[in-house]
Symmetry: C2
Subunit: 524 residues, 2 copies
Amino acid sequence: MTVTGHMLIGQTAVLGSHGAIHGLAAASGEVLQPAFGGAGAADLERACALAEAAFDPYRQAPLERRAAFLESIASQIFELGDELLERCQLETGLPRARLEGERGRTLAQLRLFASVVRDGGFLGARVDPAQPSRTPLPRVDLRLRQIGLGPVAVFGASNFPLAFSVAGGDTASALAAGCPVIVKAHSAHPGTSELVARAIARAARQQDMPEGVFSLLFDSGRSIGQGLVADTRIKAVGFTGSRSGGMALMQIAAARAEPIPVYAEMSSINPVLLLPHALEERAEPIASAFVASLTLGAGQFCTNPGLILGIDGPALQRFERAAAEALGHVAAQTMLTPGIQRSYGQGVAMLAAQAPVQTLGRGLAGQGHQAQGALFATSAEAFMQLPALREEVFGPASLIVRCPDFATLQQVLHRLEGQLTIALHLSEGDQPQARTLLPLLERKAGRVLVNGFGTGVEVAHAMVHGGPFPATSDSRGTSVGSLAIQRFLRPVCYQDLPQALLPAELREGNPLQVPQLIDGQFPE
Amino acid sequence: MTVTGHMLIGQTAVLGSHGAIHGLAAASGEVLQPAFGGAGAADLERACALAEAAFDPYRQAPLERRAAFLESIASQIFELGDELLERCQLETGLPRARLEGERGRTLAQLRLFASVVRDGGFLGARVDPAQPSRTPLPRVDLRLRQIGLGPVAVFGASNFPLAFSVAGGDTASALAAGCPVIVKAHSAHPGTSELVARAIARAARQQDMPEGVFSLLFDSGRSIGQGLVADTRIKAVGFTGSRSGGMALMQIAAARAEPIPVYAEMSSINPVLLLPHALEERAEPIASAFVASLTLGAGQFCTNPGLILGIDGPALQRFERAAAEALGHVAAQTMLTPGIQRSYGQGVAMLAAQAPVQTLGRGLAGQGHQAQGALFATSAEAFMQLPALREEVFGPASLIVRCPDFATLQQVLHRLEGQLTIALHLSEGDQPQARTLLPLLERKAGRVLVNGFGTGVEVAHAMVHGGPFPATSDSRGTSVGSLAIQRFLRPVCYQDLPQALLPAELREGNPLQVPQLIDGQFPE
């Protein structure tokens, strides 16, 4: 199999005729072949019509078939073998080992959602049986389940070309919820996108899924992506990317005749709080772990630690020295795209140019499209005065904010926007301070973590990869972990339906053995 | 106790000085005393500051105290006794028996949420214990719970002056979620609002709740309500009312620097489908039950059956005759406000004036601010051509759409916007048709019911009072029933927190005995 430049509209490979997208070799900037044809309005129309037509048969197929489809996608992606990894490495500049790990994560995610589908707990089944002899009025029979919202548009991330792209977390959770998916391919890895899309299409064929359950569109501009969000048949949007990109989609979705939910994961600087006892006891090891997290994957993670808060003094100075020293040994790494590298360079230059910002250290210089790590420090006062210092610089750059005291550190935290993660480094003696901070931290972030860093997002049931705006557009959801499925569901109540008309998961005797809340309780 | 015209800003009774609102006697239109002083910007600021200050202490208080507070509100409202019922009757024109029933529903709702809080299932607790020996990487300890979004603004409904107003479903579910509430009083029942607000304030004092847990504001125009939704400290909005009102709040919320969720329950015509066998067998009893539902409470229910769909023919004609005949005996009833009565009159006149619409029958004529029932019929063709026929006429008016065949009936359904309810009248022989329709019905409505009407919304665990736009602004929620609490929650993940820092509901050994999903399973 080779990359051909075709989209997939349902099961049909279509070479778009509206402009062309070229992959670029991340390391060299070289233009890769083939060209990928951009979709036009007719392609968009066809993908939406197919998705709409697929919705009812797909969501009504037995849960076991939906689960098998998710597992089959995982197998088909694995079957792509080296071709996928090589193409992805070329397009993204990410090391082979990282991509193998990411592929494993992608397959595990699909399989997790298969198990979620089989378990049936996501249906949120509730049964309040009729009480015909209740007085003064009998109670009707009420049964509730969650159903899919409808076809979902997914915009993948550049920084996770497998785990958060075509068959990534948004796609897996939407499919698990019973929603057909149309992916707008990220232009930073079009060949990877095509290969993965074909794996999904093969799985759909193999499992005899309705054709429109999945489509992939290329967009040579912005009109196809925007048109997708505006289309009446699309009922929800998953997006991972920039704040401006996410906000643009939110605005389109809110302006529709029928507004729809947008789950956009956008912007986070992931503050790290160094509490005094921990800093006193472990300044150097924390600094070394921090630099490892900061520079992992060229800092291209949503959960990258972009901000360090500590109380100014000798211990913080030790941390600063150790971190600058460690960073000085870190090799530059190729960034995902020339555009990301350009933005990173501008962000670092902007920080370095601020009068109250001190450059503490840099990583090793690189070449071509590589990013050189950067560590800065400033005062709490400057940080609170200059909004530019609070913006995300995507890449291996971080800013240490020296706070004169704990009260100021709290003030700085109060000023911050919503975050994906906030990390606390603490020792036993810091617990009273940590306890004081926690109510604020949980209001500011979707995940609060201790003695670690936000990078390395476990795919699990209790994970939250989300958070208050602008970390995400909707703090009620997570885009990683099994809870992500809930974003694409809505409740429906069935009143007094004859047993024969009820969905199987709500019938008397619970034939599917799904978790059912009966009169508000799970039966013992 | 007498009505004084004061707002409640936390525990302080404040006489607003920005314009005045007067209650009107619904039956006579007479202006009631006293005047209610409208809030100004300083009042709004104070209420928001108090709500923000109350959020952390309120949400962190033990669940048992939160539950006791909800129960105490119920007791305090009951203690208002006749004064509340009399004032409410005067302001709304609703009969005493209805108001006693609605008060019972209001208290039951508060007590239901107290039980939901005690149960702890709403916390959605999830625990994925650490796996220190997992390879290649150990797994961190992950724990998740749902916390309140923050202070909530509630805009009550005119048609449920108790159950969906100051201490109604939105307030009860937001308080249960741990969110302070600021209510913008509905100008149609200001005295009722003041009395209920004082009952809440007494309960808050009695249970030693933080002051800002509840405030009530009067608004002599629209700026206070709009300012409330725009205020940075408000994190969600509950609204029941008109489509234009809900849309205005959605736009304000979406335009904020930090957009917030709006749960607006707006507009629904609640289609009723009469399937052939049922119609053949029971045209007359269905017609009689339909007229009872249509005219209940002067038709002032969100779930009022405003649209009947059936296959044209002798059985439908029997239904029409029986319904027109039954309606002819129904006395006119006082509407909630002169404004609602005016709109109803305009809506009925608009329908009557359409060339393809036939007036089948009217209720008995009324006087003053009373509404006379109205029943119309039209063809499926006209219904699909004229958008005006698909709009909600709030009050006891309904439109029968005669479909030439089942396929046309399906087309009509396809054209409909989202609904709160869709009712199916069917007999055994109609089940195949019903089965064909169900996938569409569940996409169009939050509740699908058989052989009944949508009026009479049971407060239960499996109830959904919600639905696709424009029935509500957000189909993912319900405003009635215990699931309503989920609208005001967001998930937070705690990674590797020491036991002493974890919220009690997530600690090892589950000291609060709340339902916990452990590694994705409820323990046996």
